[in-house]
């Protein structure tokens, strides 16, 4: 198992939130706060990673995550190379590590990896030379650490302190790498009550061992929460046997203004995108005053700039 912390206690790779200390998470969020100002200036760039080559290795389609990593790297003055591997060498039969070897020979300094298989980023991190850094941009059902970090940044921005909060994660917990990373981040940062709300078929058995409280009913689960983390319902789940239909899901688990009214009046609503309007979230909520979905996207760039510069400097 690749250790993402090096022998000096610095972050060498970012593969998962699990095992990172609260101090390390706050260090990343504090650094991101300094980058937010940079992105509001006339020149939205700093020279920190000038001359570095960063490869976006996306084995699974993604527009938003890939774009925000690309913008973040460019704002740090790095050179970014985007590779959508599903469309190129994989179809010619090249293995994952062959691809990485080839790119390393092109003097890559950092790999940002998105892959449908859990553990793909770990495999690459184990394989590369010690001066190369790896960021997991989502691996299978396992982890999506930068998404969880930008969610934590957004919560800290709007709610200041983690220690008084009641947070609910709503949706397909079973298949969600975002939910897994969020749960580790929230519990590490000291959120006293993390709830997960989902139909029985989308809630993994034993989820309470992660320190969360499972609910199947929105009217109970949303009561008095401060933060709602909505998850995207993947289309393929609706075609399988796990759910009766999209309409049925929306009726019971879709976030409508009526359901949101059960939470605290100043509760914030978050979603990692892309949203399925009318399935997991009603447009009146997505575009409503309690939604902080667009600030999430903006903060996501600063958070990814922070992670890249902390890794490159270790």
């Amino acid at each position: 198992m690749q250790r993402q912390i090096n022998k000096n206690g610095e972050l060498q790779h970012l593969l998962t939130i699990e095992g990172l200390s609260s101090a390390m998470l706050h260090h990343i969020l504090d650094t991101a706060e300094s980058f937010v100002g940079v992105t509001e200036r006339e020149v939205k760039k700093v020279p920190l990673l000038r001359g570095k080559a960063i490869f976006n290795l996306f084995f699974e389609p993604s527009t938003r995550t890939r774009t925000t990593f690309e913008i973040a790297a460019k704002r740090l003055s790095a050179d970014v190379i985007n590779l959508n591997i599903s469309a190129s060498s994989q179809s010619k039969g090249e293995t994952l590590l062959d691809t990485v070897n080839n790119l390393s020979a092109m003097h890559a300094d950092m790999f940002i990896v998105r892959h449908a298989q859990s553990g793909a980023a770990h495999l690459i991190a184990n394989h590369v030379a010690p001066e190369i850094h790896v960021i997991n941009a989502g691996d299978g059902r396992h982890a999506h650490p930068t998404q969880a970090l930008l969610d934590m940044y957004t919560i800290r921005h709007f709610k200041r302190d983690f220690h008084e909060l009641r947070v609910a994660i709503v949706g397909d917990i079973m298949h969600s790498r975002v939910a897994r990373s969020q749960i580790h981040a929230l519990t590490t940062l000291g959120v006293p009550e993390v709830r997960v709300i989902a139909p029985k078929t989308l809630l993994p058995k034993g989820v309470e061992h992660l320190g969360v409280h499972p609910y199947h009913d929105m009217s109970k689960g949303l009561k008095d929460v401060d933060v709602l983390l909505m998850l995207r319902l993947q289309n393929e789940r609706m075609q399988g046997a796990l759910l009766p239909s999209a309409q049925e899901y929306f009726k019971y688990y879709g976030l409508t203004p009526e359901k949101l009214a059960l939470a605290k009046p100043d509760a914030i609503v978050m979603h990692p995108g892309p949203m399925n309007r009318g399935i997991e979230i009603d447009s009146a909520v997505a575009d409503g005053p309690q939604s902080v979905i667009l600030p999430q996207v903006t903060f996501g760039i600063a958070v990814r700039m922070a992670v890249m510069s902390i890794l490159a400097g270790s």
């Binding site: 610095e10 260090h27 504090d30 650094t31 706060e33 300094s34 980058f35 937010v36 100002g37 940079v38 200036r41 006339e42 020149v43 760039k45 700093v46 020279p47 920190l48 510069s309 902390i310 490159a312 400097g313 270790s314």
Partner: protein
């Protein structure tokens, strides 16, 4: 070596600046000591112009060797840099590398009319062609000596001399 009273050095620096400061000049302090000093000078000179703060961590030339500073603070430039008359403020001028980084950062906010530099202590040892327009005191210090500006609980500033890097 005896350090003079920090208060006396501050008074001298403020006096020199007052004589030559334009009405629209804006003080910009470099984190951390320079930011404290800029706040103090802003008060001593009774300025009504905004006060800026720079954290130059993203512009340092030693990132490759030592990585990101563990406590980066946001920069705060609450004015339009285009055409501004900026007085950059730092506690100690040594190699000049910090000032170089600060000037680069300012230019990413816009094109100032002028940047001048005020420092509490000039300790020599320059590695870049940078000089201060206003200097509180010049000290000739050995390489192994460090001088820092400290701020106590009541906000008072105090120069401290120590051995080490």
């Amino acid at each position: 070596m005896e350090l003079p009273q920090t208060r006396d050095v501050l008074e001298k620096l403020a006096k020199d600046i007052r004589i030559d400061l334009s009405d629209d000049a804006i003080l910009v302090g470099i984190h951390t000591g320079g930011a404290w000093l800029a706040e103090e000078l802003h008060r001593m000179l009774s300025l009504s112009t905004p006060l800026g703060m720079l954290d130059i961590s993203f512009y340092r030339d030693d990132f490759e060797r030592i990585g990101l500073h563990p406590e980066v603070k946001p920069s705060d430039i609450p004015f339009d840099v285009d055409g501004a008359d900026i007085l950059l403020v730092d506690d100690v001028l040594y190699t000049g590398r910090t000032v170089r980084a600060a000037i680069n950062e300012i230019f990413d906010y816009g094109r100032p009319a002028r940047i001048r530099l005020a420092v509490l202590v000039d300790r020599g040892g320059r590695e870049l062609p940078i000089e201060a327009r206003f200097t509180g005191i010049k000290l000739d210090l050995d390489e192994n000596r460090m001088i820092d500006l400290l701020r106590n609980e009541t906000g008072g500033l105090e120069l401290r001399l120590r051995v080490g890097n």
